[in-house]
Symmetry: C2
Subunit: 239 residues, 2 copies
DNA sequence: CGACACCTTGAAGAGGTTCAAGAAATGTGG
DNA sequence: CCACATTTCTTGAACCTCTTCAAGGTGTCG
């Protein structure tokens, strides 16, 4: 639960293109730095924020991997997303000034803390930042539309294919391999995200494996036939 | 597809509290009126906007009832929401300057057209409006989290109960009965929204009816035991 | 009034879940 | 660093919920 704290600059961050707007000129760049007050380290298994907690800030992930989830009254968990470097979390908290989901670090992580009051002040000053904030929120809405399609209409095989293709695309955009990666989450967490039980996730992995589409060694996944996977993905823009 | 056009003022609209921020003083109120350029009438069965269309505006529903939906590559439809008076649609278009879903009028409707450039300009001038826009988007994100929970974890009975309770709550907030209402959508559309087939929706209605929980006469629903329904609803804030 | 869309209901079937057991990996403490 | 406990993963078999297919009924609208 403890979190160490740092001071750093966006203007020199190599993730800037992922989480910040482009189109800032050099002189405004320092202003951008004001968005991030501090950085915060989160240990694997710790919560960045949780349901019910007062909302103050959005968080830009610098390193590490998170899952966000909501819980029903009777304790069922629904994973609402997996987030990695350059992605923004905390948007759920804006509407009621309290977070409505939990954000848990699946590996040791570091985030940039961006007080939302501050974001709002700066967005009024810089239209390009304002636009960026709007786009981030809209992107999340569109992503969730895709998830509704997946959960409402897709078979287990399609769901898992979609999950893998999406994951590998995002990792690839961050400079990692297009064919090999390590799953940061358990079968159960994948299942919760996809509306499946962990056994079904496991069986579907095995099926893909038998068909030579992927190679599965626990959490290590290698994609052997990317086209076969993509053929199963019938979602629109579920990024 | 044709749409008639009107000019009107937000400041005198009785739906203002639903779709616009409170906290504007009298003098700024005319500024608020500038948000809505025109009104537009949509006939039942017509599209307000559709997937791929250039995004220019958000729409505040004045009268009528809409469904929004996305389609997969192979033509499956997923209803992403049903919207009524005072609710805002079009947020999906912000991220890529194109709409990614279809918005279809389930009954004759009238909407206020709010060019988004305009909203952005005015939000920079009026923090209360800026905050409002952020909250609307965040609310939609939170609603969709609830839908993911519903689609990923709930039984058919729980899904339909949730749907009915949610619908009646929103209608009640708009001055309608707490126990009786008319469904504006077909069984198939309800099913698409809830990730069920129309037969399952119909059967579940029949089951509730046999148990004396509701009375079903085609699209006319009367809730007889609201507590029994609410007992089935285990979602957090799925408004 | 007739055509058409929508809804209901039954029966059979499929996909995913549940329950259970064992295997593999991971973590812990001596 | 190894032994043991624990967690995670895999796989099988039975089961269950929802779907599919089919037929008939009901309501609606030109």
């Amino acid at each position: 639960m403890k979190a160490e704290v740092f001071k750093v600059a966006c203007s020199s961050c190599n993730l800037r293109e992922l989480c910040m707007p482009v189109g800032f000129d050099q002189k405004d760049m320092h202003k951008l730095d004001e968005i991030v007050t501090v950085r915060k380290k989160i240990k694997q298994g710790d919560l960045l924020f949780e349901n019910g907690e007062i909302f103050t800030s959005l968080y830009a992930i610098r390193t590490g991997f998170f899952k966000t989830s909501v819980a029903s009254e009777d304790g069922r968990e629904q994973v609402t997303g997996f987030q990695m470097a350059g992605e923004i979390i905390g948007l759920d908290g804006i509407v009621n000034d309290r977070h409505t989901c939990n954000a848990l670090a699946l590996e040791d992580a570091e985030v940039c803390v961006m007080p939302f009051d501050h974001i709002e002040d700066l967005s009024r000053e810089f239209p390009v930042l304002q636009k960026h904030v709007h786009k981030i929120m809209s992107r999340e809405i569109v992503r969730e539309h895709g998830m509704m399609m997946l959960l409402g209409n897709m078979s287990a095989e399609e769901r898992l294919a979609n999950f893998l293709v999406n994951l590998v695309q995002r990792l690839f955009a961050r400079g990692q391999s297009q064919s090999e990666f390590i799953l940061r989450m358990s079968r159960e967490e994948i299942g919760s995200y996809l509306g499946l039980k962990l056994e079904t996730v496991s069986r579907t992995f095995s099926k893909y494996s038998e068909e030579g589409i992927i190679e599965v060694k626990q959490k290590h996944i290698k994609i052997l036939k990317p086209d076969s996977l993509k053929q199963l993905v019938k979602l629109p823009n579920c990024n």
